[in-house]
Amino acid sequence: MKDVRESSVITDYKPDPENILEVRNLKKYFTVQASFFGKPLAFLKAVDDVSLTVGRGKTMGIVGESGCGKTTMGRTVLRLYDVTDGEIYFDGRNISREKRARLRDIRKDMQIIFQDPYSSLSPRLPISEIIAEGVRIHKIVPKNEIKDYVIGVMKKCGLPSHYYSRYPFEFSGGQRQRICIARALAVQPRFVVCDEPVSALDVSIQAQIINLLKDLQRDLNLTYLFISHDLSVVEHISDTIGVMYLGSLVESGDKSGIFGNPMHPYTQALFSAVPIPDPKTKMKRIILAGDIPSPVNPPSGCKFHTRCPHCTDICKDVAPKFSECEPGHHVACHLYTGCRP
């Protein structure tokens, strides 16, 4: 995509040193249709103009329905996908155009925990090898100390040391997720993307893993980008929250701001749709009609206008700007453009 490379101007933007991660106008398009000679004809705009910041030692939660681009965003931030446009500043350094070979030493600092613990562990390696692989590549400890180091990491993640030479098939889902966490933490990262780490697990196991993630964050001063569709989990673990819809952030802000005063109509509907485990509370439901539109042909103007209960004429034509309505609370909605300074 030549045109895109030309458009990326090197800016002299200086990120805030308080933030471990800053993402500015990130875009990730996938080609869904190409001409005979490979010229892209249609794009799937998986991530479309997302900007966010994550403070050191904090957790940012990303919520949204399936297909809204939260996983793609998480992977693009780690440069597991190439960036179409926009900048990613990790620890003050722009990594959005970094070469593959130079990414290797950044990868030591940023790791990912995947959603499905059944498909993200190699069935042919014992867990000692799964965890030690990264340690060896990044030369975290000398060779003769690797075994003790791996056992130490396993213990930290709640895995007894006699599991050392077992294979993944011998473990249950919760234990597998512990192995995934141990693998990610073995290289001593500072930033971890948790891509739906608990959604494949049972509720009683979910609680164990969430507690483990919180303990590890406290002990190792980790920063999490926590991606989930489960609002209650995100509320529990996050400091700041971003709500995504069809590839864009529609609202972001502090946990208390987002949950106490959801402003975007989509956020309001999303929160009201969550069933409350208490038969006495009768929620006033906002039930959205229809389904999420296709990201290949997103609606014009505000992407949410096809399902929005407050849709006006301007929403159909003009895309709203992502602007600060309250201190630290950003919303992309025409309903609140009036409150912009």
Binding site: D202, V203, I210, S232, V233, A273, I276, R285
Partner: protein, 450 residues
Amino acid sequence: MEKEKKSDRYISGAEARRLRRDNKREMLRLEKRKKAHIGEGQYLARMKNDQNLVEFEDLNVYFFTDGGVVKSVNGVSFDIPSGKTVGVIGESGCGKSVTALSLLQLIQAPQGQIVSGSIRFKTNDFERDDSGSPIPVYEYAPDADGKPAPVLTEKTDKRGKPVLDPDGKPLFVQKQLISEDGLPVFEMVDKTVDIAKMPVAALQKIRGRDITMIFQEPMTSLNPVFTIGWQLDEVTLLHVPGTTRKTARGHSIKMLELVGMAIPEKVCGQYPHELSGGMRQRVMIAMALACKPKLIIADEPTTALDVTIQAQILELLRNIKSQVGCGIMLITHDLGVIAEMADYVVVMYAGKVVETGTTEEIFAAALHPYTIGLQRSILSVNKKVGRLQSIAGQVPNPINMPDYCYYRDRCKSAFSACGGKPPRLCKVSDTHSVSCYLYDKAAGEAGGEA
């Protein structure tokens, strides 16, 4: 390093051969029973309480695997009252889906078998004449004197052409009553059957008509090579005698309208892959409703869907329940869905029912330590918690279940009596039962000594 423990999954060659031989014998015996030609009298039963639609009593469903016998459902008893929603909750692998599948005898055969127990179900069968064909209800209209007289109509063949007598005059027959749905009406009779004893051939008349099922994954439960309309018509054509493709299609379109499809005629011509997850689940619900069922089994109907779509589907299920008046057996692991939908709750753990009660009782005054642990370990929006309380440990290995209370090893309030035989379900109030020695002191002391 700690000493490596020998895996509890290990079995010797001789043991494995013995297991296989025993399993084969047992499976063949149980399979034969399902295919036997037995009369209706063999499986008719009586309800204990006439208000109930389904009564499970001491149901045992085992899976005969090469690693040993897995007691998936181990002595489960509970009732589903007519027109109510019963929610079944539990972790994955606790036997909630198997309980539901045994209600339709759809367990993976030959490994999975209903070994003992009974499932009584109040079905609504066609009244049959001596030759075994269903008796139609005829239409009557007042004649000149105001007395009801049978309405006559031209006799037609399968293609809709009039049948002529040898003289070339059209033949007249009594006109069958057509319901509002456009389907022919037959004389019906209430029967109570024991599904666990029924042969499959007889059960097929109940499956899809009186008991229908909504599966978790709507993509894998619709056939990708047939259109939605074809798959919907099939239900009506199979279960209502005397329907034509045309009346069936009309009925299918009505059903799709009922579940809130915008253009049902168009959807009828589409294939499952052309629809989104929420739409597919609506089609599944339409299919389940086609024959006015008495019980809908919803097996995790919203787990594969997003929260906003989940809200739509739950709203739809609630509306339909009030319109059709059927009972719903709702299986889920989401306590929020249960709180919203269910009238009664059954909590299952490792193949056993640990607690049953009304939704209010279970949520406000749960008794069993597992139910309490489950409720504490879940998060809910706008509920502030410092640290989540999790249930330590895991579900015991289903092949080697302990001979004491299955929850004892994870239970914080276990005491001496818990080492005895597994507790029975005992009543705390009219609707609330719990299987725990904490609330069954007398039995607990006796069990502790035993």
